[in-house]
Symmetry: C2
Subunit: 394 residues, 2 copies
């Protein structure tokens, strides 16, 4: 039953196929359950992932990309639903900081996700119906444990580098803590070692918006044939505001009106910002599962790395041999620089090898996904240096 199922090559239209994208799935049967932090044993389960580039002979050139809340395994190749190019185009590809001509990049969809890896929209073997809320609650630790099983399956021992932003950055920190011997370099971007009260609050608003939608049907909408699209759209809209800075919103939209000269004295989208938010909400529901949104936000809320190590974050990193490049953005109010600084202090406390860069930008949390030359230059330098130390040719 344990198979690796090559779904075939994907060609990225804008790079002449040089990125070498391959999408695949790995299924783990009853003999290889995923031991969840909740105590539940999940099996069978499948991990969907995409790889870019070529694994070298000694398997020393592996870069693991951990994706954020609503992203997926298509970091550098087209999304099958939207047709849009990969979500990290400036970071991953031939000649980019994560250079697919040199590195073998693995980007798996997280457990609990909705792009092929087992999650609440998949069939519960116990009932023959979609899990819905019967899917077990998962954690960042569970996501990483599943990824480690995938690497074992692929015969990959340790990682040259593990990198990710936001929820992806949480996974990076978890990797360093849970598998200290398997990580050579770690790049947690715009993230935190524990989710703040304000961030839990915003997630709770999103969950309540979904659960308030009668079409959510207590999570059984796939069985009932309904669609909690309105609730999910509201959740997305609320979250989207937190991804941007006030400055960016002001610069991009200000109080500009949408295709009209004056306000309409009504509740249409008079302002461009309203139209933009509505668009963000309505397109999101076409590509994301509402229950997945509940589960992944919950995993982030539960993340408190110190809590697993006697309440002292430094203990989480005590055994690490990794070098770290911690990145934050000045205008990120969702994961402010102070969050990254806590991680850096903990790493310093155990004399870990750590660089810390706060990038000056007004683009807010989303900056990690955008064209930020200073971030690229920083990461290119860090990755190249680590590669030289690792004996990977430039």
């Amino acid at each position: 039953m344990n198979t690796i199922d090559r779904a075939g090559d994907e060609k990225r239209p804008d790079d002449g196929g040089r990125v070498g994208a391959q999408s695949a799935t790995a299924t783990f049967g009853a003999d290889e359950p995923l031991a969840l932090d909740s105590g539940v044993s999940l099996s069978p389960f499948t991990i969907a992932y995409t790889t870019y580039g070529t694994l070298n002979a000694d398997k020393s050139n592996v870069v693991l990309i951990c994706h954020a809340l609503t992203l997926d395994q298509y970091a550098a190749s087209a999304h099958p639903t939207t047709g849009k190019a990969g979500w990290w185009p400036h970071m991953v590809g031939p000649g980019q900081p994560i250079d697919t001509d040199r590195f073998f990049v693995i980007c798996p969809n997280v457990i609990g996700g909705c792009m092929g890896t087992t999650g609440p929209k998949d069939i519960d073997p116990a009932t023959g119906k979609p899990y819905g809320l019967d899917f077990p609650v998962i954690t960042i630790g569970d996501m990483v444990r599943a990824q480690a099983m995938l690497l074992d399956r692929l015969g990959i021992g340790d990682l040259f580098c593990v990198v990710g932003g936001s929820m992806g950055g949480m996974q990076v920190l978890q990797w360093a803590a849970a598998y200290p011997g398997r990580v050579f370099a770690a790049i947690p971007i715009a993230t935190a070692a524990r989710h703040s009260a304000q961030n839990i609050a915003f997630h709770e608003v999103g969950r309540q918006a979904i659960m308030a939608d009668p079409e959510w049907q207590q999570g059984a909408y796939l069985i009932e044939g309904t669609n909690p699209a309105k609730g999910l759209a509201v959740a997305r809209m609320a979250a989207h505001i937190t991804y941007l800075s006030e400055t960016a919103l002001h610069r991009k939209f200000g109080r500009n009106l949408q295709d009209r000269e004056t306000v309409t004295y009504g509740f249409d989208a008079d302002f461009q910002i309203e139209s933009y938010l509505r668009h963000q909400g309505s397109t999101f529901v076409d590509r994301f599962d509402a229950n997945s949104y509940l589960y992944l936000t919950r995993a982030m809320d539960y993340f408190d790395l110190a809590d697993d190590y006697g309440g002292v974050l430094a203990n989480a990193f005590r055994g690490t041999k990794a070098r770290f490049c911690v990145v934050s953005f000045t205008s990120d109010w969702l994961f402010p620089t102070s969050d990254s600084r806590q991680t850096v202090h903990a790493l310093n406390a155990v004399a870990a090898n750590v660089s810390f860069v706060e990038i000056r930008t007004d683009k807010g949390h989303d900056a990690f996904l955008l064209d930020e030359p200073e971030m690229f230059a920083t990461l290119r330098g860090f990755i190249d240096s680590a590669a030289r130390t690792r004996g990977l040719g430039a």
Copy 2:
């Protein structure tokens, strides 16, 4: 038909009745319509208001309090639905900065509101049914115009002082601009002369949450006998986060669990912040009308005082004779100090008499409603000084 309807005395339990609260309504008939900015003429309409203290012989001691989005005319007396004491207990009362032993305080419910002043939940005389979305969209200018009509009705010419926070502060600025000769002192707190893109965005999320609730029934829920409570609760939850600072949330709740030792691996309110937000949502719907929430948020979104004066905010204040005390809070990210500074710059440009105080606090936007001794000391000093200049005995 034009009547002032004394609803009778209210006694505030905690002050022995010394605050002298009186609730009343004033109804304006077909001969006195409210000319709205939308071009619509609204009639009849009623303004519900509460007064505290005693009007002096020359009517020179009137303080007008303008309330914020979800507040009401019960600034210093018990709310009839919740039974809770007035919302500005430290500010208004005998011996308080707005001293009801010296001043005659008027606090009207805004037009479009839901506590007695005409709004979308009231009967549309054209149909005999509640207005719902047939209620005309109103503006901050309309709120102030209605208040001016109330003062005319009461035989009050000019105001010793007009004061308010947030949406109330918008009304204060509008008063100074629209009725420059009628305002002696103006205190706009935690507000802006125009609503920002981010604030419009948060309001839009709240409106979409309400409109996504099928029980909203295109605004006709009072006719249909439904109740969009879930949507309104989500709107309130999202908004409530913006009223607090991240620091305050962290200090008050952090990642504390709610009545449990460990997380439940489920979607209950594991964290205190979740429980608190749910409570905020569920209690709000008992005291507020969903359509009113749409209309009042819209009025704030539309507020752009400069826009009415050739795009130059200073022009709005060119005729003012008022002295201003502009107040902001360091941790207010909804109406940050930069918003207040824009108002101050405009006032300075026309050589207005203006004090500007940024209060250091970590309580966020809601600080204007809380026990902030520095704010009280500032306003006590400003009001006492203005009263002396006005010839009102201390």
